[in-house]
Symmetry: C2
Subunit: 205 residues, 2 copies
């Protein structure tokens, strides 16, 4: 289990989302999944082997069992608290977004440096001051954090999160964060993603 | 130029963002960039070789020239129009976001199926009805689109965008979109990203 690659982990939600779109509860083979998603069959079979799902030769996986196995593997059936730092435009949109629940993640609280926001609720989630970060993260047992602050303060926030014992950070600020060993960071630089797309159409055609 | 990989394209904005944080305009070597970002020197040197920047042996690149070369390569100095479909929470946050301009991209218009939003402006960007999609995309010469609609209608929207001649789609809906050849899609499934992070801390430690 311990040698699963990040790229494989990235594909598991794709299989899960696809399986959920299918009606009924028949059997589905890794080949059928691969064809539907335009992926290689060997790759799909190897990826699914990381889960506890047991495929039967010739028929494949029972759909409901494969969904459960993927959900177990991705932690959808655990409940895990996450906190969000920076309740601005993107931050507020994420607080309103219901999709985290599908993966067993609860955005339980937000933190902001704006006194006008502190003490209020955004989409039912309390907004705390930055000085309450450590206390609240401990209280919630949160090991995940989402950074939506401006680029200029993102590293400072990441440093604080590391001292609070956060294990994984999803970073929307357009900077490369340095974190200590044992903390994982994923970057979502929306503007850079759009620029890359634009460059792909220029440089790859 | 035509064989540049997507993973290399993803790294170019990271170099660009890092260089912009540096004061002054001295020379910087690929080795110094690599060390600062915790990346391999050979990789950095190869990546930068895709741009028109000319490094000098022993001293490296003049910072301002390397920034210009990266910006040129990423199309930051072109102006390219993009449209956004689905002016809900994430969509509205993106319309308010100023960071696209750094890459020469202008989110010029939004489209929504909600009659209450059509005809209004969000962060100064006009919201049009879905029936105006083809006409407005042509008018704007937009080749990029951002999909922020619910998962259930994302494929239909992607199909429409393809018939409108859009060349690249940034997709925030948690579904795998099928598009015709010549159209590039990048997926940003925020909830899945957080779930993957969570799984990394469980399965890789």
């Amino acid at each position: 289990m311990t040698d699963i690659s990040v790229t494989c982990l990235q594909r598991l939600p794709i299989y899960l989302n696809y399986l959920k779109t299918l009606d009924g509860d028949g059997f589905i083979s890794s080949g059928a999944i691969a064809r539907a998603l335009g992926m290689g069959e060997v790759l799909v079979r190897k990826d699914l082997a990381y889960t506890a799902a047991q495929g039967k030769s010739r028929v494949g996986y029972k759909k409901s069992e494969l969904i459960s196995a993927l959900e177990d593997f991705l932690g959808c059936n655990n409940k895990e608290n996450a906190v969000l730092i920076g309740a601005g435009g993107i931050g507020s949109a994420l607080l309103a977004y219901g999709g985290f629940k599908n993966y067993g993640i609860e955005l339980a609280a937000a933190f902001d440096s704006d006194d006008k926001k502190v003490g209020t609720e955004i989409s039912g989630k309390p907004v705390f001051s930055m000085s309450q970060l450590k206390e609240k993260i401990k209280e919630l047992g949160a090991s995940l954090a989402v950074i939506c602050v401006p680029a200029s303060v993102a590293q400072t926030v990441a440093d604080e999160l590391c001292t609070c014992g956060v294990k994984a950070i999803l970073n929307f600020a357009p900077v490369l964060l340095r974190v200590k060993d044992g903390v994982t960071v994923r970057n979502i630089d929306v503007a850079a993603n759009l620029a890359i797309l634009s460059s792909i159409s220029v440089h790859k055609n």
